[in-house]
Amino acid sequence: MLIYLVQRFLQTIAVLVAVSVIVFFVMSFTGDPVMMIVPPDATAEQIEAARHELGLDRPLPVQYIVFMDNLLHGDMGRSYLFRQPVVKLITERVKATLEMVMLAVLLSLAVAIPAGVYAAAAPDSRLSRALMGGSLFGISLPSFWVGILLIFVFAVEWGLLPSSGRGKTVAGWSFLTRDGLAHLIMPSVTLALGTLAMLTRLVRAQMREVLRQDYIRFARAKGVSPSGLLFSHALKNALIPVITVFGLQVGNLIAFATVTETIFAWPGMGKLLIDAINTSDRPIIVAYLMIVAVIFVGINFVIDVAYTLIDPRIDLR
C-alpha cells in the first residue's frame, strides 16, 4: 500500500510538471504581453526596457526555469492589468468559487442519489419514466442558457432574486447571510443542473446492475426489508463507480464555474480567468491553470486511494 502511494504520488508530480511545461510554452506563443503594459505611444526603447524588466527577452527554457523557481517559492508573477501578485488575486476569489461549487455538489448529490435509487427500484413507474426523461433533458441543457432563463424569470420579471454579485458576505462567505444566500441560489442551481442530471442517470444504471446480482436475491430471500435492501446492501456497491465519475464531475463543476460566474457576475476564480483571457493577462491564465491542475490531480489521487478503502477487492498494483 505504502509503495503504491509513493508511486502514485511520484506520477502525480510528473503529470503536474508536464502540465506546467505545456501550459507555459503554449501560452508563451500567444500575443505579446509587453504591448499590454506599455502606454500606446511608447518608444522602441521603452518597449525593450519593459520586455527586459519582465524577463521576456531571455530564451524560453530560461524563462521556464525562472517561472518554476518562482512558482516553488509561491510566487506566480504579477497580473499585467491589476498590477498585483496573481496569487493574491486568485486567493481573494477562491472562497466565492468554492462556496458556489460546494453548494452545487450538495444539491446534485441530495437529488441524484434518491432519484437514481428510486428510478432503479421502480423502473416502470410513471415517476421513474419522468425522472429519466427529465434527466436526459437536463444533460441536453446549455448551462449558460439555463442561467439566462433563471435571470429573466426570477430577477427581471418577478424581481425575487438578485441577478449578479455576491451580496453581503461575512468573513468572505456569502452563505452566512440571508442576502448572500439569495445571491448564491441561482448560480449554484445553474451549475448543479447538468451534474445532477448526469449523476441521476449514473446512480440508476449502477443500481440496476447491482440489483440484478445474486447476493441481492439472497438478501431478499433472507427477509431484508426493501429499504434496507436498497440503501444498505445495493447502494454501497453501486456507489463505487459513481464516486469516480463524481470526482471527475467536481472538476467539471470548477470548469463550468467559469461560465456561471460570467453570467451572474459572481466574483470568483472563473470570472477572473475569463476576464484574463479577454484581456490577454497571461500570468493570471497560467496561474489559474496551474492551481486548477493541482486540484484535479489531487482529486484523482484521493479517489484512487478512497477506492481501496471502500472496496477491499480492488488491488491497485
Partner: protein, 285 residues
C-alpha cells in the same frame, strides 16, 4: 434489422429524437432559401425594425416570426444561419476526433507494449481534466476562429474514442478469427482495418452520436464565453451571448430563442443516442 426498426418505432423518445435531428438536418441546407433575409448582409437590415418581439406577442410583426435583435436582424434568419454553423462544427469535430481516436486506439491496441502504455498514459492524463477547460485553454492560446475551434475541440474529443477502440481491440485480439487471419500471413495494418475495426464499430457509433450533442454544447459554451467562433460567423451560442445585454430590459427573445434551439437539437441527439446505446448493448438483451 426489421426487429431494430420495430423497436425503434415503439420507442417514442427515439422517434421524437430522430424527427428533431431530421428537421435540423433539413433546416441547415435548405433553411436559407426560406428565411426572409441573409443576416450577414448588413444592407438588408433596417434599424427601424430593431427589437421587434416575436409574432405571437402584442407588438409582433408577421414578417419577423421570432422577433428581431438590436440591428433589426430577423431572429429566425439568424437562428437558421447559426444552426448551420453549430451543426457544421458538431459534425466536423465528431468526424475528425473519431478518425484520430480510432487510429490511435487501433495503433495502441495492436502494437501493445510500450507504445500502448505511453499512448494510454496521455489519454488518462487528458481525461482527468475537464474537456471544457482544456478547450478553453487551447482557444485562449489560439484565439477565436471557426477552424481553430474545430481543431481545439478535436484535440479534446479524440481521447474517448481512442480509449474505447483500444479496449475493444484488446478484447478482439485474442479471438480465433483474428488468430486465423494472422496465421495466413495478413499484414498487421490490414488485420486491424479489415478484421478488427468492423467489430469495434458498434461502440463507436454510440459514442459518436452522443458526442455530436456534447460538441455542440461545448462549442456553444465557448462561443458564449467569447472564445469560440468569430463575430462574423455567429453560432447559436454566440447569438445567446449577443442577446444577453438586453435581457435586463425585458427583451428576452434575442437570447432565449437561439438557446432553445441548441437545447432542442442536443435533446434530440441524446434521445436517439440513449436508444442506440440500449439497443446496441448486447449485455442488456
Amino acid at each position: 434489422m426489421s426487429e431494430f426498426l420495430f423497436r425503434f418505432s415503439r420507442d417514442k423518445g427515439a422517434v421524437f429524437g430522430f424527427a428533431v435531428i431530421a428537421l435540423f438536418a433539413l433546416l441547415a441546407p435548405i433553411g436559407p432559401y426560406f428565411v426572409s433575409q441573409n443576416p450577414y448582409d448588413l444592407g438588408s437590415l433596417d434599424l427601424a425594425n430593431a427589437y421587434k418581439p416575436p409574432a405571437w406577442l402584442a407588438d409582433g410583426d408577421a414578417a419577423f416570426p421570432l422577433g428581431t435583435d438590436e440591428q433589426g436582424r430577423d431572429m429566425l434568419s439568424g437562428i437558421v444561419y447559426g444552426t448551420r454553423i453549430s451543426l457544421f462544427i458538431g459534425l466536423c469535430v465528431t468526424l475528425f476526433s473519431c478518425a484520430l481516436g480510432t487510429i490511435v486506439g487501433l495503433w495502441a491496441g495492436c502494437a501493445g507494449g510500450r507504445v500502448d502504455s505511453v499512448l494510454m498514459r496521455i489519454v488518462d492524463v487528458q481525461l482527468s481534466f475537464p474537456a471544457m477547460l482544456v478547450a478553453l485553454f487551447i482557444m485562449s492560446a489560439f484565439g477565436r476562429g471557426l477552424w481553430k475551434l474545430i481543431a481545439a475541440l478535436t484535440l479534446v474529443g479524440w481521447v474517448m474514442y481512442a480509449r474505447t477502440v483500444r479496449g475493444a481491440v484488446l478484447a478482439e485480439k485474442g479471438r480465433e478469427y483474428v488468430e486465423a487471419a494472422r496465421l495466413i500471413g495478413l499484414p498487421p495494418i490490414l488485420l486491424a482495418l479489415r478484421h478488427i475495426l468492423p467489430n469495434v464499430a458498434t461502440p463507436l457509433i454510440v459514442i459518436a452520436t452522443v458526442q455530436v450533442g456534447n460538441v455542440i454544447l461545448t462549442e456553444a459554451t465557448l462561443s458564449y464565453l467569447g472564445v469560440g467562433v468569430p463575430v462574423t460567423e455567429p453560432s447559436l451560442g454566440l447569438l445567446v451571448k449577443n442577446g444577453y445585454d438586453v435581457l435586463f430590459s425585458g427583451i428576452w427573445w434575442v437570447s432565449v430563442l437561439p438557446g432553445s434551439f441548441i437545447m432542442l437539437l442536443v435533446f434530440g441527439i441524446n434521445l436517439l443516442g440513449d436508444f442506440l446505446r440500449d439497443e446496441l448493448n448486447p449485455r442488456l438483451k
